[in-house]
């Protein structure tokens, strides 16, 4: 971005909407479908106004059957369309797990390479909005387990604006996880912001003393913690994974090799999580660079509570990150 590039103020929600709108304009094969995406404008209001602009053929409300409309999306993709399927939350995506894992992820393989499934599935993930246990979980790590799909977790305005188009250009199924607390995040991006690459993690804050590795909804908390740590002389590096599958191991290891200490912040539960995978890869790839054991800050292993104070207590917070890093380093870099 050049210094004099025009900047615009935008929210994550608007950035996502612009991305969809842009895709609908650029490629006639693209259409959006899901529960309440049309007349209602999407339950998080991402698709508000799109029905009026693009009409019911391209902005399609579906019956309340995740399995049916994800399956329809797979069929459309196999037949040459570029569908964007919206699932309300990751919790509900479990109803479409069969379509995603058994069909979308495997058809290329099962057809001996004859059929790609160029499908994009967007869904909301994460807690922090008092929506209780059936609308708040972070299951993107589960999807990160599945070969045959890609898993994106845009955590910045640029990624919200730019990941969708790159995902649509991918010949294989791509899942995009939008953390529910991010939709109202507001900031400035370049007016001409567009597609971004989706295979690399990004260092969001350079530092020398510890690598804080995170993604999605906890990126903001982690950056906030890093600023607090800087005040006590600990220079933390913040790595935004951006993509959980395939994991950009290279960027992770490159950071740990420089800082010799790693903390993974993951809103998912600790057991069998993506944080466990990252920790294992650090151990495999940078064992002799480690000066301290890898630590993880994850959600408490409970169904996410409804009550505000309990929900806050269950989730990784900037204060827990600060406390953990301070304890690890003995309070100095």
């Amino acid at each position: 971005m050049t210094p004099d590039a025009q900047k615009v103020k935008i929210t994550y929600r608007e950035a996502m909407r612009q991305a969809i709108r842009d895709a609908l304009i650029r490629d006639p094969r693209v259409f959006l479908m899901g529960e309440d995406v049309g007349a209602y404008g999407g339950c998080y209001a991402v698709s508000k106004g799109l029905l009026e602009e693009f009409g019911p053929d391209r902005i399609r409300d579906t019956p309340l059957s995740e399995s049916a409309f994800v399956g329809a999306g797979i069929g459309a993709a196999m037949n040459g369309m570029r569908p964007i399927v919206e699932i309300m939350t990751v919790n509900f995506s479990l109803l479409a797990l069969d379509q995603i894992v058994n069909n979308a992820a495997t058809i290329l393989h099962m057809s001996g390479g004859q059929f790609n499934v160029p499908l994009v599935i967007r869904m909301t993930t994460g807690a922090g909005r008092q929506l209780a246990a059936q609308h708040s979980h972070s299951l993107e790590g589960w999807y990160g387990h599945i070969p045959g799909i890609k898993v994106l977790t845009p955590a910045t305005l640029e990624d919200a604006r730019g990941m969708l188009w790159t995902a649509l250009e991918d010949p294989d199924p791509v899942l995009i996880f939008e953390h529910g607390t991010l939709y109202n995040m507001e900031g400035e991006i370049a007016a001409d912001a567009g597609a971004v690459e989706i295979s690399k993690a990004a260092v969001r804050r350079a530092g020398t003393d510890v690598s804080l590795i995170t993604y999605g909804g906890t990126l903001g908390k982690t950056l906030q913690a890093a600023e607090q740590l800087a005040q006590s002389g600990i220079d933390a590096e913040v790595v935004d994974l951006r993509t959980l599958r395939p994991l950009d191991t290279e960027t992770i290891l490159d950071s740990v090799v420089r800082t010799h200490r790693a903390v993974i912040i993951d809103e998912g539960w600790r057991s069998g999580s993506i944080s466990a995978e990252i920790s294992a890869r650090i151990m495999e790839g940078a064992f002799y660079e480690l000066d301290l054991p890898v630590e993880r800050i994850c959600s408490a292993e409970v169904p996410i509570p409804y009550a505000r104070h309990l929900e806050d207590a269950a989730l990784p917070q900037a204060s827990t990150i600060v406390a953990t890093v301070t304890r690890m380093t003995g309070g100095h870099g």
């Binding site: 010799h260 002799y288 660079e289 480690l290 000066d291 301290l292």
Partner: protein, 419 residues
């Protein structure tokens, strides 16, 4: 409380394997007791203890190979309260509980001086060292056994190793130079069983390291002189006639005694070159180079040779040779020599200019006694003659003093009855 550490049994010993503990927690020990048997790359050594007290805790179990300086056992020295030995194996994370308790009142049984092997399963002691610290220590040649950890739960981290690398090495008599550690995991890798040591190969390596270091670091100068041994041999023959066969003396004993007395007179020959300075030996402990049948050699010390009479030196020599052949030496014998004598007379050579065993500063060599024409007082006669040589460390002494030293040996050998 005192720490009993893996001793340095020779300048180039880096690691030792605890073969056997001869004491167990609760046993009383006194200075000089043999408490453990340690296998080095050169030999099996009976290790003596230098504090008197009661063994509180054995830290390194039998079979474990650890670097020099590793804590082997903790001793409650005399005057301290008896510290309760932990019953169970402490978890690695735990510090040993330090409970000062009065001596048990019920059974004031005198603590045994342990002599028998006590197969006490010692607590595993796993040092907390980060992988990075371990790697750095190897790169920076820092002995991890001496590094104090300041990380979580006392873990040694990168910062600790870097700090240790900057600090000057701690000088000790037996280990004058910081040693590169070849074993990256001090006290960290409990070995399930004693790995058999190929002494022959290992010894060649150790000799290679010591001799290469000597020639690299020590500016040797060499002096030689022929010594008329007729008086010494005549006296010895007469003396041996008076003695029962088992107590007869070898002429080597005269040579050793003469060297020791000469070293007493010329103290620059007796001691160590450590950290850029000469440190005189507190007594004259003569290292005797003894070849080992399977190959290699070792130069254990006979202590205080100058103060021993010839019979005592003979007894010590006989004992030493026997134990070298059997491969059982004591730690003090390995570490204490202040000057070394090598004799290749039996092999038939007339002179030997040896390589100094660091950190010592002198080595005296003797060839075989041969009959030679010898001119004295205007007359030529056949005399038994031996070639004495000196390899001196020019940092510690000069040729002038070296010459005086050899002359002193010669002078002493002319009055054998006074030896």
């Amino acid at each position: 409380m005192a720490d009993f550490l893996m001793p340095s049994l020779g300048a180039d010993m880096e690691v030792g394997t605890v073969l056997q503990w001869l004491v167990k927690p609760g046993d009383a020990v006194k200075r000089g007791d043999i408490v453990a048997v340690v296998d080095t790359e050169k030999a099996t050594i009976e290790v003596e203890i230098f504090q008197s007290g009661v063994i509180q805790r054995i830290v390194v179990p039998e079979g474990e190979k650890v670097p020099v300086g590793t804590l082997l056992a903790v001793i409650v020295t005399n005057g301290e309260g008896v510290v309760a030995a932990p019953e169970a194996k402490p978890k690695p994370a735990e510090r040993a509980p330090v409970v000062i308790a009065p001596p048990p009142p019920a059974q004031p049984a005198p603590p045994r001086i342990a002599a028998k092997p006590a197969p006490e399963p010692a607590a595993p002691h796993r040092a907390r060292i980060s992988p990075l610290a371990m790697r750095l220590a190897m790169e920076l040649k820092v002995n991890l056994a001496t590094v104090k950890g300041t990380g979580p739960e006392g873990a040694v981290t990168k910062a600790d190793v870097e700090r240790a690398a900057k600090a000057p090495p701690l000088p000790t008599a037996a280990a004058p130079v910081p040693k590169p550690i070849e074993e990256p995991a001090p006290a960290a890798l409990p070995k399930p069983a004693v790995a058999p040591i190929d002494h022959h190969t290992a010894m060649r390596k150790v000799i290679a390291a010591a001799m290469a270091r000597s020639k690299r670091e020590i500016p040797h100068y060499y002096l030689g002189t022929h010594i008329d041994m007729s008086k010494a041999m005549a006296w010895l023959q007469a003396e041996n006639l008076k003695r029962p066969v088992t107590e007869r003396l070898l002429y080597s004993v005269l040579l050793l005694k003469a060297v020791a007395l000469a070293a007493d007179e010329i103290p620059e020959m007796n001691g160590f070159w450590i950290d850029g300075a000469f440190k005189p030996g507190e007594a004259v402990h003569v290292g005797v180079a003894i070849s080992i049948r399977q190959g290699g050699l070792i130069a254990p010390a006979i202590h205080d040779v100058g103060k021993k009479n010839l019979s005592e030196i003979m007894a010590s020599l006989r004992d030493l040779v026997k134990r070298v052949r059997a491969g059982v030496l004591r730690s003090s014998e390995i570490a204490d020599a202040t000057i070394t004598v090598t004799s290749l007379g039996n092999e038939g050579v007339e002179s030997v200019f040896g390589v100094i065993y660091p950190p010592q500063v002198a080595l005296v060599g003797f060839g075989k006694i041969v009959e030679r024409p010898w001119a004295s007082g205007g007359m030529v006669g056949a005399r038994p003659v031996i070639m004495a040589s000196l390899s001196g460390d020019h940092r510690a002494s000069d040729g002038h003093r070296g010459a005086l030293f050899l002359n002193t040996i010669e002078r002493l050998l002319q009055v054998p009855e006074k030896l």
